[in-house]
């Protein structure tokens, strides 16, 4: 009895799923098309196709790509008219933009944008470095100031000074040669659970010093700086605050106060925090200054104000600045440069906060309403990109010895 019923139930569920999938997206091609196996850097570049595959009959589907390697093809192509060229933007996983903003850029430049998300910030940059000489894309977005020196040393970018370069606040221009152009920034700060402290009748923490006090024992979660980008940013904040010779003492005190170390942001924020609702009990977590605003925005429609607040004391936060650059050997360097300009345009800058939950670099870009809940650090920790690059490993290994071993 059961066996039969189980079988039919199974078939019914799968059939329903297939129907739902097909119904929802009639044009979706679930099975990778033949074109996908071809050089994806120029699968629909008709300007290249005739020379590359002269034997291909014109009746073949438009998605059939030339079989020859695109690297040997001339890169010249008409800027306007004809079918759009493809611009490949390599980025980390958090890249996001609004449909209409991207569509306007695509239309204006007769281009089709392809976003190649390549893992977290570190993995994506390392992939770009390994592919030096035959880049996976034209532009790379998502180098931050903790990785800046690694990127510049690897020499994978082609300098391009964007049209709006003069309008960029000087504090964010860390590469005067413009191999990399700043596009946005975000503060890594401690978030705390407002309801928790109200209920326990303890004042919310105000500074990094507070975390080592007995009243806050066993309350803090940080991410491991060796595996997590906010974890590294917070470690650097403590170095900015206490100095490269004293920060270890701070961490020893934090350890004595029972700090919990988590490997990644997802685990720390959801599974370990007292507001995540997933079994955690820690009311203080290293996250972003914009996280409270995101809590309201993604609150299931229920919250009128954030459940969390930021610890914004002096040097309590580290400011991560993100950069974009044209990859050396790009197939469409002209379009790549246009894309860099596009990322600094008003339309894109104003799109950044609602899509990527960081701040635009351009001062005149308007912020969305829900950003009234986001706070910025007045005095983020001051540590230079060069100092970070020179000491990153040393700092992390000293931290590991002091906190984990």
């Amino acid at each position: 009895m059961f066996r039969k019923a189980g079988l039919w139930l199974t078939i019914a569920i799968l059939a329903a799923l297939f129907l739902a999938a097909c119904g929802a997206t009639p044009t979706a091609a679930p099975v990778p098309s033949a074109a996908a196996a071809q050089p994806t850097t120029a699968p629909v570049a008709p300007t290249a196709a005739p020379t590359a595959a002269p034997t291909k009959a014109p009746t073949t589907a438009p998605t059939t790509a030339p079989t020859a390697a695109p690297t040997i093809l001339p890169t010249v192509a008409p800027a306007t008219g004809g079918a759009p060229r493809e611009l490949v933007v390599m980025s980390h996983d958090s890249w996001a933009a609004s449909d209409d903003v991207v569509a306007a850029f695509e239309k204006a430049n007769n281009v089709k944008l392809k976003i190649l998300k390549s893992g977290d910030a570190g993995a994506a940059l390392n992939k770009a470095i390994l592919a030096k000489g035959s880049p996976l894309g034209d532009v790379f977005f998502g180098v931050d100031n903790t990785f800046l020196s690694r990127a510049l040393k690897a020499d994978i970018f082609e300098p391009y000074k964007p049209v709006a370069a003069d309008k960029l606040p000087a504090a964010y221009v860390l590469d005067p040669k413009f191999n990399l152009t700043p596009t946005d920034y975000g503060d890594v700060c401690l978030n705390y659970d407002k309801a928790y402290f109200a209920k326990k009748n303890i004042p919310a923490p105000q500074s990094l010093d507070d975390l080592t006090k007995p009243a806050y024992k066993g309350m803090t979660v940080v991410e491991n700086p060796a595996t997590s980008s906010p974890g590294l940013a917070f470690l650097i904040a403590t170095i900015g605050k206490y100095g490269a010779d004293k920060y270890i003492d701070y961490w020893k005190a934090l350890r004595a106060n029972n700090v919990l170390v988590s490997e990644g942001w997802e685990d720390a924020y959801y599974a370990k925090s007292s507001w995540g609702g997933k079994g955690g009990d820690r009311p203080i977590v290293v996250s972003y200054a914009t996280s409270p605003a995101a809590e309201v925005f993604f609150s299931d429609g229920k919250l009128k104000e954030p459940p969390t607040g930021n610890v914004l004391g002096e040097s309590a936060c580290f400011r991560q600045i993100e950069f974009v650059g044209v990859l050396k050997g790009a197939k469409n360097p002209d379009l790549a440069r246009k894309f860099v300009d596009f990322m600094l345009s008003k339309a894109f800058q104003e799109d950044i906060p609602g899509q990527m939950f960081v701040y635009p670099v351009m001062a005149d870009a308007k912020l969305p309403d829900f950003y009234s809940w986001a706070q910025k650090a007045d005095k983020p920790a001051a540590v230079t990109a060069d100092a970070i690059d020179a000491n990153r490993e040393k700092w992390i290994s000293a931290w590991t010895d002091a906190v984990l071993r």
């Binding site: 066996r3 799923l17 999938a21 929802a24 071809q38 609702g277 609150s299 299931d300």
Partner: protein
């Protein structure tokens, strides 16, 4: 089934998608200027920490494996020897953990075992405790529990499939001759099961040995395995020489184990009179038998299902109480994001990739197993298992270096099923090989004498017998493909996310709506997978059980 072709396909596949990329990344890491640079080796040797990591990796893997086999054996017995309603569902449920992304399992464990989780809250309220009594997270014990959680189905399937065909008369005969039940099991059944048992233990060991997500997330930062260290060295420190040396150690240890295993295996394997399952299975009659079965499986199912239930429960508890808000939200492109992909497409992508992976891995694995059985070179078997021992990030970076122009497969969507097949086909080999080896050669000889061509003999004799093992291989392949995250996130294309990738994207941002949707999608992943696994087991072709 010409012999050269039998090797050509799996050999060529391994060469292009495994050895070539691996050689490329090792060359780049260890000999960037052509000559071998000993710097990486020297630094690994000079750092005692890495020796500790290796020691911990081996120790936790050994303990995890032993406990997984102990937990899996009773379930394998019950599922293979007894017939009762709900069997297929039980099988499917215990296979599910295998395909869940670690972060999701970590959340499930935390909801139940976390300091403010279900069990601790319950105990605290019941006994008026100030402190949560259970503190398992970030200890080695949670790693071991999670390893059992993930791998128990490997034991159940590989050992169970073999057990299901053992002739029960052998054990009965021993008992008739005066042996106790236990003695009959120990001296008759256990030795016969040995090849499958060793195969399963070995797979589990390799999985525990190369464990990444479980150790990283549940074990916390104080505990690191080789695989975790390889990831840190590659991605965070970009110290490729050290990463390459550690990778080589990991591959070397696995190769050594597998080589040892190949020797043991050929010593253990013996041709058997395998019986159809219909004959070996019994329907429980007495209350005692029923109770024993219920207890064995009940414990396992509760253990496996509890975190899944926790996830599902969280996915329907919204700010307004019970509701399907997180499910309906899955279909809303809230921010009009250009990179937004409707989650139903992720379901569809995952299924399509899984089907392609099965289509690749089953023939590759079967051909390899077939060849292995006849090959005289003992080192070939361990070589086939190496993809399992290789870090996803090492291989992913190898793809970038090796598959660029002129091959240019680097950003092809095909890389996903290829990478999945690479990881999955050793499972097919391990499921099929013990069964193939136990087929009595005189069956094939009889077929040949009666005039069958080798291909016909294979179809008539081997295929029906290995069908069950093939289904097991297909199920493994499916779970590997659907659940794979590391390699997929490195080689996959963003517009074709799989379910784990989509879940991970949702969990990457704050807010109840994001985590709720991630849990909703995880629940869908579980339901789709259970259905697909049950369907696969039903689709065994005619005469599947001999």
């Amino acid at each position: 089934m010409a012999a050269p072709l039998g090797w050509l396909l799996p050999g060529g596949f391994l060469l292009l998608f495994y050895f070539y990329p691996l050689a490329a990344i090792f060359q780049r890491s260890l000999a960037p200027d052509g000559a071998f640079d000993w710097d990486g080796v020297a630094r690994v040797l000079a750092t005692p920490y890495f020796a500790n990591v290796l020691g911990f990796t081996v120790a936790q893997a050994a303990l995890s494996t032993a406990l997984t086999v102990l937990c899996g054996l009773p379930a394998a017995y019950v599922l293979s020897r007894w017939e009762f309603p709900g069997q297929a569902l039980v099988r499917a449920v215990i296979t599910v953990p295998f395909l869940l992304p670690t972060i999701v399992v970590a959340l499930g464990f935390s909801i139940i075992l976390g300091p403010a989780g279900w069990i601790n809250t319950l105990l605290q309220q019941a006994f008026g405790l100030d402190e949560p009594p259970i503190k398992l997270l970030n200890t080695v014990w949670i790693i071991i529990v999670a390893h059992i959680y993930y791998n128990v189905s490997v034991v159940v399937r590989i050992v169970g499939n073999f057990w299901a065909h053992l002739d029960p008369q052998l054990e009965s005969a021993a008992q008739m001759l005066g042996a106790s039940r236990w003695r009959a099991f120990r001296e008759v059944t256990l030795p016969l099961l040995a090849p499958a048992l060793v195969a399963a233990s070995l797979l589990v060991f390799v999985f525990d040995f190369t464990s990444f997500g479980v150790v990283l997330l549940l074990g916390g930062p104080r505990l690191a395995t080789l695989e975790v260290e390889i990831y840190r060295q590659t991605v965070n420190l970009f110290d490729l020489p050290v990463a390459a040396v550690l990778s080589l150690v990991q591959i070397g240890v696995t190769f050594g184990l597998m080589a040892l295993y190949a020797r043991v295996q050929s010593a253990l394997a013996r041709p058997l009179r395998l019986r159809p399952q219909q004959i070996t299975r019994r329907i429980p009659h007495t209350t005692g038998e029923r109770a024993a079965i219920a207890l064995t499986l009940g414990t396992l199912v509760v253990f496996v299902a509890l975190p899944l239930v926790a996830l599902a429960a969280q996915s329907v508890s919204t700010a307004d109480g019970f509701g399907l808000r997180y499910y309906t939200e899955l279909f809303v492109n809230r921010r009009n994001s250009v990179t937004y992909v409707p989650p139903i497409e992720a379901v569809w992508n995952s299924l399509a990739f899984a089907v392609l992976t099965i289509a690749l891995a089953l023939p590759l694995g079967t051909l390899s197993a077939q060849r292995l059985m006849q090959a005289r070179w003992r080192w070939l078997d361990p070589v086939l298992m190496l993809p399992l021992a290789t870090s996803a990030v090492t291989l992913g970076f190898g793809f970038i270096l090796a598959l660029g122009p002129p091959i240019n497969l680097r950003s092809s969507a095909w890389l996903v099923p290829f990478a999945h097949a690479l990881i999955a086909f050793p499972f097919v080999v391990r499921s099929v090989l013990p069964v193939l080896r136990s087929i009595r050669p005189n069956l094939r000889e009889a077929a040949r004498v009666l005039g069958a061509s080798p291909a016909h003999a294979w179809r008539a004799v081997d295929l029906p017998i290995i069908t069950r093992a093939l289904v097991a291989g297909a199920v493994f392949t499916f779970t590997v493909s659907v659940g794979e995250f590391g390699a997929t996130s490195l080689v996959g294309r963003p517009e074709m996310p799989t379910m784990p990738v989509a879940i991970f994207r949702l969990l990457g941002q704050p807010g109840a709506l994001n985590s709720g949707q991630a849990l909703a999608l995880s629940t869908i992943l579980v339901l789709v997978s259970i259905s697909a696994i049950m369907l696969m087991e039903r689709l065994r072709w005619e005469g599947a059980d001999f």
